[in-house]
Symmetry: C2
Subunit: 314 residues, 2 copies
């Protein structure tokens, strides 16, 4: 069983980039050919809608798999369509793993100990069914919310230790109002640094051969100064960095999150890549009908942009 | 369209109790007759397992519906069985609503604005499908996590305002490590009071005719002193109070959460009621075969216990 952080870093090295792609499929933003196909073929049913977002997600996976180490499907965009949507989420996770990608489920779960155990077992563990153990959601790692403290995280740490899984704890999020609670100063430092200390403690016994812990941190690219302070407090954590691209952050904003040796991050872009057909210059060059080429071009541009500041550790 | 807090308070008055029942079905704790039936009939398949927890949950609803205003299904215990488990969650929510119960989905979701919109629309709102609007999960209210701040809550507030839905924001949780982040002192007061202030602001424009807001707070019964301070800061919020019973809190511990007029709370018990057949005195009196009677007896005892400190506002 390989340590998650080792696995993630090996894949980053193999692809030569820290870029990962967020899968946030929204029906109303899908390229017209896909919307039309599923609206028409199934009379605009819920199953047709969900087929469209599943097909779109799987095509995205086909396009990005040769280029990136991981994808980050956002479960909310499947959960909004009820259990039928979540059936598609499960299929997308499996599809991505078969394509050789590491899957980081962006689920942001967090609950008290006995309930957290149910989430951790369902997403990262195995459930006893008919005398054998079965995996349910099958992500390699998930994002978790720290507000309920250590006993809400411990069941996930069991999966980290025993099954080579990973977690990314929300430390400083990329959204405008992330500061409201996370930046409050408590006992001499902001809440996000208290959380960072907890993350360091939670991850202390899952540090792999490459010196990184499988307990990582979500640190928004939209707050570079905070990222610098969190990196100082958490030298061994892998940072999952959202906010690049559509949320406004640039490669330059990532410097604080990256270690001096050029390692330690995965940089996520969701809308900026998967809906590239809707923005310049890809919109003009490819349009909706060649949306797949728009996705690939946008991803290649992101990888090139990141290469200016990220050594990839190689 | 009736305000959620008004609806909840009317039901509390009608039943004469603030008790509600948490539906946390765990296969290994189910009464033997149910486990045997579904293990045998379906060869211990995943669908058999999920049928057992769905049937159990629906029987619980039948038993408690005459006595309480609401049930609180915990989605994690369904989600751990993948999308098949979540199909059962959806069925349980519908079943409870048909039984005349208010359903508080204990989902503890929380994400950045555009993603929070997906959660809020899926759980409390309507999705456009084939030219009409369809409800997906159909809860009356859900629990939410405040760590990401206002833009993560706003999409839920839209459903509160436009569709008479409710939310309960985690303020001070009942678990042992809830204090780690929530009790940190920041700018002269603990984090949970900062969150309470946000909750008051978020709920200011959804106060109903009975003087309560549809934006409530989750405040653990296991922390009575904190509950008193939160109540002082949040006079108009309905408190969803977990921790009574199996987690160790008593009726006396609830005093701080209840307003001087005897109103303002719903008190949840999950394991203490639904698995009453596993604990004294119900275990001895009813055993596993008469588990339904154990549930009813435990619930009646809880209601009696709460009546000593809770006026129900009548």
């Amino acid at each position: 069983m390989k340590n998650f952080a080792d696995r993630l870093n090996s894949e980053i090295e193999a692809r030569g980039t820290a870029a990962i792609v967020g899968i946030d499929p929204r029906f109303e933003l899908l390229p017209m050919p896909l919307r039309r196909k599923f609206d028409g073929a199934r009379g605009g049913s819920l199953r047709g809608l969900v087929s469209a977002i599943r097909t779109f997600s799987q095509e995205i996976i086909d396009i990005v798999a040769p280029h990136v180490a991981a994808v980050k499907p956002q479960i909310a965009f499947f959960e909004m369509y009820g259990w039928i949507g979540l059936q598609a989420y499960a299929e997308v996770v499996r599809y991505a793993r078969k394509a050789g990608l590491i899957v980081i489920g962006d689920v942001k779960r967090g609950d008290i100990g006995s309930t957290a155990l149910a989430y951790a077992t369902g997403h990262l563990g195995e459930i006893p069914v008919a005398g054998h153990l079965a995996e349910m959601w099958m992500e390699d790692a998930v994002t978790v919310n720290p507000y309920l403290g250590s006993d809400s995280i411990e069941p996930f740490l069991v999966q980290v230790r025993e099954r080579g899984k990973g977690i990314f704890v929300l430390v400083r999020t990329s959204n405008p109002s992330g500061a409201e609670i996370q930046d409050l100063e408590a006992v001499g430092k902001p809440i996000y640094l208290h959380v960072a200390e907890l993350v360091r403690r939670w991850g202390a016994d899952s540090i792999g051969e490459q010196g990184f812990s499988s307990v990582g941190a979500v640190v928004g690219a939209t707050c570079p100064e905070e990222a610098r302070r969190i990196r100082a407090a958490l030298p061994e954590a892998m940072f999952l960095v959202p906010g690049y691209g559509a949320q406004g952050a640039t490669a330059e904003d990532l410097r604080g999150a990256i270690r001096d040796d050029g390692r330690g991050v995965v940089v996520n872009s969701s809308r900026g890549i998967i809906f590239a057909h809707r923005r310049k210059p890809y919109m003009d060059e490819f349009g909706e009908t060649r949306w797949q080429e728009a996705v690939e071009a946008a991803l290649k541009d992101m990888i090139l942009d990141l290469s200016t500041i990220y050594s990839g550790g190689v």
